[in-house]
Symmetry: C2
Subunit: 145 residues, 2 copies
């Protein structure tokens, strides 16, 4: 699944190559997506806010993509709205982790999608700097046929 998602990201969103997106880990209900600082550095030698956003939004996107794949479902995944808080600068490798809230969230989403061909799901992505949260991203995604 990790290499499938990696290939999809690099081929369907070419900017992910410039960002240096890597799918690091996938456990079935959580995913880690990373990018090197070098590609995404800013004037303060920390990670550019637009890069932190991109890694965060793609973590949620990839988690939904994997869920659809595992359930043999097709669909377009679109970000509809999001909020991002930059709490601490990121001075090393950017790693965004996104996970489903619980089984209930997954099951509700799948049921709605299979019945209506469109469903919404809210996911958070967290980027840490050491032990502290550096970036908190909350996104509303829509999946449609």
């Amino acid at each position: 699944m990790i290499s499938t998602i990696q290939t999809v990201l690099n081929s369907e969103i070419p900017l992910t190559n410039a960002i240096g997106i890597k799918v690091d880990e996938y456990t079935g209900n959580a995913i880690k997506i990373s990018a090197p600082l070098e590609n995404n550095i800013n004037h303060k030698n920390t990670a550019f806010g637009g890069s932190l956003y991109s890694v965060s939004v793609l973590a949620g996107w990839s988690l939904i993509y994997a869920l659809l794949k595992e359930n043999n479902l097709q669909g377009h995944i679109v970000i509809q709205e999001s909020n991002i808080q930059y709490l601490n600068p990121v001075t090393g490798k950017i790693v965004a982790e996104s996970q489903f809230m619980d089984e209930l969230q997954i099951n509700r989403f799948l049921k709605q999608y299979e019945r209506k061909g469109i469903a919404r799901i809210k996911l958070s992505s967290i980027i840490k700097q050491g032990a502290k949260n550096a970036v908190v991203f909350n996104g509303s995604y829509v999946v449609h046929l």
Copy 2:
């Protein structure tokens, strides 16, 4: 001012080269920043959400940068929090426009910054698709010495 901002963006945030960021217009209280669709395309042949975010956040950043320059002020401009709504897909050139609310907003910001060496400012960026709003971005920026 346009070429100064262009140079700063390309040299201090290297990813802006991959995105293809161009400073198109600057009027003193508004700025237009653009990027070609090709560099920023996604799986649906529309603009990638992370790119739309990046162009939007940089429009606000650049407007503040220009304001500081015009007032012979130095400072670091950092995005602290933002919200973005994707209302319609963008199927052509990405153009984000950001402007100050009014003179009062500018004067309050400058006064606070000159007194305290740190000041906050909220700016919106709008990306249109034809006559319709495609992306509405609201950002809170902090400027500090």
